[in-house]
Symmetry: C2
DNA sequence: CTGAAAGCGCTAACAG
DNA sequence: CTGTTAGCGCTTTCAG
């Protein structure tokens, strides 16, 4: 029985025969790199159409050592930030003539992505979830693999990196809350292996300390994994305190949404009794039920930058490793009072 | 300058030389299909490790006509159903030894996925977003391409298809609402090119008609695209009527969430003044702010089934086209009163 | 401008 | 068990 997956049976030789040219001329017409006589070209094109010929990508890849595939490793797709990022990356990559291959990152996926580079399945990889203890990643980088880090970064690692200013984002939130008169400020943070989270927390804490209003350790909770539920639970703990915070900064939106609902579940009014601030500006942040004040990252710009750096790296251009850090914005909604953000 | 993407410079010949065996023996050790002497095998393995050798996947694919890649076409990732499905599909595919390549489906992506099959970039494709007017898909199917449809299906098309019982889902919702005493039942539906939507709507309408309580055309709105916002707006139109519905069935959760918030924005109490039912049971449906009654599809089972059918098809097994339709469940939450669902 | 020829790195007969 | 041999389908010199 014929198995389709053996690939289209028609090859460039078939085209050559039919167009009465040599196989190499067929190739020349298709790649378009070399001049070909008008007559011959037209016969080839006609034959291609008539036979429904599609060049075999594997064979081409083998000759050119280029697959046209770019791998993307994303963290748990359950965080809506990543689908959003994925959508943007996919569009940009397609625009640049590449296909996107996705790994949904647990450690196995990270390894799989690095394997794919070494096996020439992909020409390069964009990692959104790097951490300093990813051995496979580090190994690949040592071998000079074309990898760029986006979103999460790892200081000092030998590769291009693109992030937004998480330190500054944390600072902006702290300043905003403090200047708006909040003084019992709480924090829900997460695992500190992600640079994003670490930076947001550090920027936030340092600024409050500098302003003379450090976070009470009672008012700080760390979740082990980011989800609505963990956010809900963490906030519940904070809100069950006799003197609960008058504002809570959550290091990402998903937990902030959980926190918002924890307040609702207790009948705590937001923003009257409690302010909540998130981070990422995922789509749900703007929903009527949440109206979450948050930090918006310039995802599209980050994606474009990452792709540009990766393509340069793949071409062997680019000497040192670049670390691009893009600015982000405080988006004020009614989960906090509508005071103007100050510089 | 050395460009990494030229691929690892070490080939099976290098290994052969180093292990003092022929290149084919190296291949035999690596593929593991043939017996190899203990001595030789060990020398090969050692050489592989010492040189950090990785077999070139393109070359292998060219010989075997198998890439190990499965393409997945998903509709707008903005609908959280699709990331959920993607996650499940990815895990199952990896478990079966395949990699997942994702296209984020507008018409261009659909075409790209079909191109990928013809160019032997992927061994097969899983489509979540088929519609009857997808020309590239139809063309590919005519050529007997290994494609399976999941979620959305197209009656009469020559391919394997997996869906859940959308007709029955619509019916269940109708019965539940009617038996719970709702009589001014509204409907927010969507574009009818998707089989899922069509079936849900038909099942719902027919059942209500059979029960003698057809939908008032005033109480039916169709959105052109599925999003929180379109759901919010559509529900707003319904709720601004003098006599607004006492229950609204939304053909998917995303618009149901919008509808829920439209009620909240007007101070309409749910479920006291209005019941809302969605479809899909995406994660947010269970969030405290929504507590949405909805239909849960057996995504994991659907994914497994689709993959099984696809693998059979790729192996050339399987004679006729199968159409698997799996049952789904009504999940009752407090966006409707907590009456028991009846059979 | 075009054909002939040489492989890319690997797998899979085919003979030992 | 293992080496030799013949390509997979394509791109790219190298000669005309």
């Amino acid at each position: 029985m014929h198995t389709y997956s053996k690939g289209s049976p028609v090859t460039s030789h078939d085209i050559a025969r039919r167009a009465r040219v040599s196989q190499s001329t067929v190739s020349r017409v298709l790649t378009g790199n070399t001049k070909v006589g008008k007559e011959a070209r037209e016969r080839v094109i006609a034959a291609v159409r008539e036979l429904g010929y599609r060049p075999n990508a594997m064979a081409r890849a083998m000759r050119t050592s280029q697959t046209g595939n770019i791998g993307v490793v994303v963290s748990r797709l359950a965080n809506p930030l990543y689908p959003e990022l994925l959508q943007i990356l996919g569009k940009s990559l397609n625009g640049a003539g590449f296909r996107m291959v996705v790994w949904n990152s647990d450690e196995l996926d990270e390894k799989a992505a690095m394997d794919a580079i070494h096996e020439s399945r992909v020409d390069g990889v964009i990692m959104t979830t790097a951490t300093a203890d990813s051995m496979p990643l580090y190994e690949a980088l040592r071998l000079n693999a074309p990898v760029v880090l986006i979103n999460r970064v790892v200081d000092g690692w030998p590769c291009d990196q693109v992030s937004s200013d998480n330190l500054g984002g944390g600072r902006k939130v702290a300043e905003y809350l403090f200047k708006s008169g909040r003084r019992r400020i709480g924090l829900i943070t997460g695992p500190d292996d992600a640079s994003t989270i670490r930076d947001r927390e550090v920027g936030f804490r340092r600024t409050l300390e500098a302003l003379g209003s450090p976070i009470d350790s009672m008012h700080c909770v760390a979740v082990d994994v980011f989800s609505y539920k963990t956010g809900f639970d963490a906030a519940s703990r904070l809100l069950d305190l006799a003197e609960y915070p008058d504002a809570i900064f959550c290091v990402n939106d998903v937990i902030a949404l959980g926190a918002r609902d924890a307040a609702r579940a207790r009948g705590i009014e937001v923003p009257a009794d409690l302010w909540i601030v998130g981070y990422d500006d995922i789509e749900m942040a703007s929903w009527h039920s949440f109206e979450l004040t948050t930090i918006r990252q310039p995802l599209a710009l980050m994606a474009e930058t990452a792709i540009r750096l990766l393509l340069q790296r793949m071409r062997g251009i680019g000497e040192g490793w670049q670390h691009v850090c893009l600015p982000n914005d405080l988006v004020i909604r009614s989960s906090t009072a509508r005071y103007a953000a100050s510089g």
